[in-house]
């Protein structure tokens, strides 16, 4: 349990660092570390597959692409247009609304044992695969079609651009 609190503390610290650092590349690197602490959380919950997929997909693929773009853009305070006060206020209001909704949702939940859920082995590859391909086959396939559509869309957009140029 003390391990959980330590890792949770690290997650929150690095998440805050992501928001508060000025340099966007540092911000992405802190986000990578935050995702790494999430991986540790998943391992502590015995969800090995989710842990390693989080590791490969979020840390290994998505964040690398983020880093790619930010390194090439070379953003900094002097060259970037600052957002107007109205947008900032709207952002704060929207964020607070989200906080209220989350808080309300958590208030009605029962407190469960943080380390061991009702089925401790559900996160192992074998069990997860069986659940996904038996109980949740249709949503699973629809999700994959959604991803495929997004991929085809991205390719189409990229192609159009090269023709015009």
């Amino acid at each position: 349990m003390s391990l959980f609190y330590f890792v949770a503390f690290l997650s929150i610290i690095f998440a805050l660092m992501t928001i508060f650092t000025k340099n966007p590349v540092h911000s992405v690197l802190y986000l990578v570390v935050t995702f790494f602490t999430f991986t540790i959380h998943y391992i502590m919950l015995n969800a090995q597959f989710l842990a390693i997929v989080n590791f490969i997909v979020y840390m290994g693929a998505i964040m690398v692409l983020f880093l790619f773009v930010l390194m090439l853009l070379n953003l900094n305070e002097d060259t970037e247009p600052m957002k107007s006060v109205l947008v900032k206020v709207m952002g704060v209001v929207a964020g607070m609304c989200l906080l209220v909704v989350l808080f309300g949702a958590f208030r009605v939940l029962d407190v469960s044992d943080a380390l061991v859920g009702p089925q401790p082995d559900i996160g192992l590859v074998k069990n997860l695969g069986k659940v996904l391909f038996n109980e949740f086959l249709l949503p699973f396939e629809i999700t994959s079609i959604l991803l495929l559509t997004a991929m085809v869309g991205a390719v189409v957009l990229a192609k159009n651009d090269t023709k015009k140029a």
Binding site: F49, I52, G60, A61
Partner: protein, 345 residues
């Protein structure tokens, strides 16, 4: 029991760590010796008998070189880059089963550091993580050539990761498990080696491994002869040494992964027919496993001194338009064969 277990694993970790470093160190000598052999010249032969002390001299030279951190560089990240690269290179070997069990004084010692049931995915994750060392190093140098080199290296690594993952999926459909120890145990003897079931998959996996280790013909991240060095242009002293060294560690780990996934790991022909005791089978198995690894390392070097380098567009073309369709074809073929086998035989 608990303390014995921890001490046992610690000793194993230290041994594997030492072996990895020594093999990587002598790979540098072997590379130059093999280059010499292929180009009909002696290779390094002055330091010690037959050049045996050459790696020590190289290492010493790296340590005594002046260490320069460029003025505009981000110091913390500049140091983090090579550190991360060497760490990710070294942790990959944690899940590889080096042998069966040894019984020492009644204790059964498993020659594998971590037998996790997602071992294959773990290796894949470590490969994915190794991009960061290069990207951080290239960006922190505050040099546009380093940054371009880092992006070249990262895009190559990401492209070939996909082909590697897809060729692994076909293998996993055959083995039905993600655990390294189970995959190796399934290939006992000689005819059960996965390379006979998955020849196309092995070929694809090997090509992708070459690209992931950035070895010739895929060594564009550091092609010093035609483009500016690459992500490590601004590095000097042992930091450059760590980048170079991690390439050899990658090569060793990749060879170990290929031998255990496709070439039976510690299994050798007639291993249970010779009437040997378990300890002897294990010891011979470890030797056989290392022989396979050295074979692969030799192959890596052989290719390096035989083939020319790809152009970058050829590399991308090969990765996206040849390897990925072929590995998807391999997955479909494997699935069809598995179904036909299940229904009719």
């Amino acid at each position: 029991m608990e303390t014995v277990f921890i001490i046992e694993k610690l000793i194993l970790v230290v041994i594997i760590f030492t072996i990895t470093l020594v093999i990587a160190m002598y790979s540098t000598l072997a590379e130059r010796k093999i280059a010499g052999f292929m180009q009909d010249r002696p290779g390094p032969n002055r330091a010690g008998p037959g050049g045996i002390l050459q790696p020590l001299c190289d290492g010493g030279k790296f340590f005594f070189k002046e260490e320069i951190i460029p003025a505009g560089a981000h110091k913390g990240l500049f140091i983090l880059g090579p550190t991360l690269t060497i760490i990710t290179a070294l942790i990959g070997s944690a899940v590889i089963p080096w042998g069966q069990t040894l019984s020492i004084g009644g204790n059964e010692v498993v020659l594998q550091v971590a037998d996790i049931n997602i071992g294959v995915l773990y290796v894949f994750g470590v490969v994915a993580l190794s991009v960061y060392g290069v990207m951080i190093g290239g960006w922190a140098s505050n040099n546009k050539y380093s940054l371009l080199g880092a992006i070249r290296a990262a895009s190559q690594s990401i492209s070939y990761e996909l082909g590697m993952g897809l060729s692994l999926i076909a293998l996993l459909m055959v083995t039905g498990t993600l655990s390294f120890s189970e995959i190796v145990a399934q290939q006992s003897g000689f005819v059960n080696w996965n390379v006979f079931v998955q020849p196309l998959g092995f070929l694809l996996f090997m090509i992708c491994s070459f690209a992931e280790c950035s070895r010739v013909p895929f060594d564009l991240p550091e092609c010093e002869t035609e483009l500016v060095g690459g992500y490590h242009t601004e590095y000097s002293s042992m930091k450059l040494g760590l980048y170079m060294f991690s390439e050899y560690i990658h090569m060793f780990v990749a060879s170990a992964v290929m031998s255990s996934l496709y070439f039976g790991g510690y299994n050798f022909p007639f291993m249970y027919d010779l009437g040997l005791s378990q300890n002897w089978i294990t010891i011979i198995g470890v030797i056989v496993f290392f022989a396979k690894i050295f074979g692969f390392i030799f192959f890596f070097m052989w290719v390096r001194w035989t083939l020319p380098r790809f152009r970058f567009d050829q590399l991308m073309h090969l990765g996206w338009k040849v390897l990925i369709p072929l590995s998807i074809l391999n997955i479909v073929l494997t699935a069809v064969f598995t179904l036909v086998k299940d229904y009719y035989f």
